[in-house]
């Protein structure tokens, strides 16, 4: 095994003022966004879904300065799929563009790349006060039959699994709230 030669660059908080740099179009700044909450691209076929939610701090106040990223497989379970409008599967949304402090994504429901794996979205969270970004996963309630065999979920008890499962509020719309602390603290991963 190769030895490390260089040391990882340390992480720092995204701070409160990322919006014009990272989420400019979502927040209405006159500057192009290369990553956006609207993830559906080109000719890729699949089930269109909307995902939204809020991020709560340890006093149950929603954060209005968080930014979330989704990294996901396509409907066939493949990562990095090229479309005629660029590569599918990477999206970004802030929580400060709406008065209710929700993040919002429009995407295609992912497939799974193994029969034993439950479809999921990889979620990365950045915010003022978060010096090292946080990783979690979002699963879908209709895929419960795969939770026993999924290589991540099988490490978790049913209560923790529940915290990683989005609610379906209407067909095609899922809600996933994140709790940074407290009795419902979201499960975060070291990936």
């Amino acid at each position: 095994m190769k030895k490390n030669i260089l040391q990882q660059t340390p992480s720092q908080t995204v701070g409160p003022f990322f919006a014009y740099g990272l989420t400019s179009e979502q927040y209405g700044y006159d500057y192009p966004s290369v990553v956006s909450p609207k993830m559906i691209k080109g000719n890729l076929k699949g089930t269109r879904i909307r995902l939204s939610g809020r991020v709560f701090d340890g006093e149950n106040n929603p954060l209005n300065d968080a930014v979330l990223e989704i990294f996901q497989a396509d409907p066939n379970g493949n990562y990095g799929t090229k479309t005629n409008e660029g590569i599918f599967g990477f999206g970004r949304s802030g929580t400060g563009a709406n008065l209710d402090h929700t993040y919002n994504f429009e995407t295609l429901k992912p497939g799974s790349n193994a029969k034993t794996e439950a479809p999921h979205l990889n979620l990365t969270l950045f915010a003022r006060g978060i010096q090292n970004h946080l990783y979690t996963r979002i699963y879908f309630p209709e895929d419960k039959s795969l939770f026993e065999t999924d290589h991540v979920l099988k490490k978790l008890n049913s209560s923790l699994r529940q915290r990683l499962t989005a609610r379906s509020t209407e067909p095609g719309h899922y809600v996933f709230d994140i709790y940074l602390q407290g009795k419902n603290e979201t499960v975060f991963f070291d990936v």
């Binding site: 701070g15 919006a19 990095g80």
Partner: protein
């Protein structure tokens, strides 16, 4: 395809999650330990190519220029993005944002009483080339005050977001400038536990790369996590 696994984040050298000196960390970080997981294989090709971004966005003195050049000290910030094994990483997306020369961010919620510059937005992006090299032209940002404690000022800094080859290879950080007198008072910078690691965020002034009669140059190299083959497999 050989199965590759990612090196872990080096937690010993990363900032503490909850740090009372930086007040916003207290309610915003989990108290339960992270659960370690191994990831299934996914594509580790870059997600972006030259056609995705505008070339002008690597020059922050030009990409929002309306009538005049922005006010302030023009600088060039350049460096290489590599992994822990010193392999250059091409087509990494670098997005930066910063305050203007007066220490004012253009963000709508910012209320610091310093002037905006109509010719300066303070946001840019670029991709690394074949050798992992990147370069931005910009204006040296000013220090800005914040409410963490009495008379708190952030050292001058540029925010960097780096997207390597997927969400594991993701880094958001801040670049500082050599010799800043505010370093020792800043809890964000000092959240990093050791001096050697903190020094990796300080760009070095380079007289060799400075362009006569145009701009000072600063070097800021970035190291992302490496991938290695599992022990069962041979790696040359």
């Amino acid at each position: 395809m050989a199965k590759k696994i990612w090196n872990r984040r080096n937690w010993v050298r990363q900032p503490k999650l909850i740090d009372p000196a930086y007040k916003s960390t207290i309610l915003r970080n989990p108290k339960n330990p992270f659960i370690r997981v191994h990831l299934n294989n996914y594509s580790t090709e870059p997600y972006f190519s030259k056609s995705d971004i505008r070339q002008i966005d690597s020059d922050l003195t030009k990409n929002n220029r309306k009538t005049h050049d922005p006010i302030g000290e023009r600088i060039i910030v350049m460096g290489h993005v590599r992994d822990e094994f010193a392999r250059p990483l091409k087509d990494c997306l670098l997005e930066i944002w910063q305050a203007n020369s007066a220490g004012r961010y253009i963000h709508r919620n910012e209320v610091h009483n310093a002037p905006l510059d109509p010719n300066f937005l303070g946001a840019g992006m670029t991709l690394t080339d074949e050798n992992g090299f990147y370069k931005f032209t910009t204006i040296k940002p000013g220090a800005y005050p914040w409410g963490n404690h009495e008379n708190a000022w952030r050292p001058a800094h540029i925010h960097f977001s780096i997207m390597g080859r997927g969400f594991v290879d993701r880094l958001v950080t801040q670049m500082y400038f050599e010799g800043d007198p505010l370093f020792k008072y800043d809890p964000i910078f000092n959240g990093i536990p050791d001096e050697q690691s903190r020094s990796r965020l300080i760009a070095k002034f380079s007289i060799e790369k400075t362009i006569p009669n145009f701009a000072h140059a600063y070097i800021f190299d970035i190291v992302l996590r490496g991938q290695h083959a599992t022990p069962m497999e041979n790696e040359s």
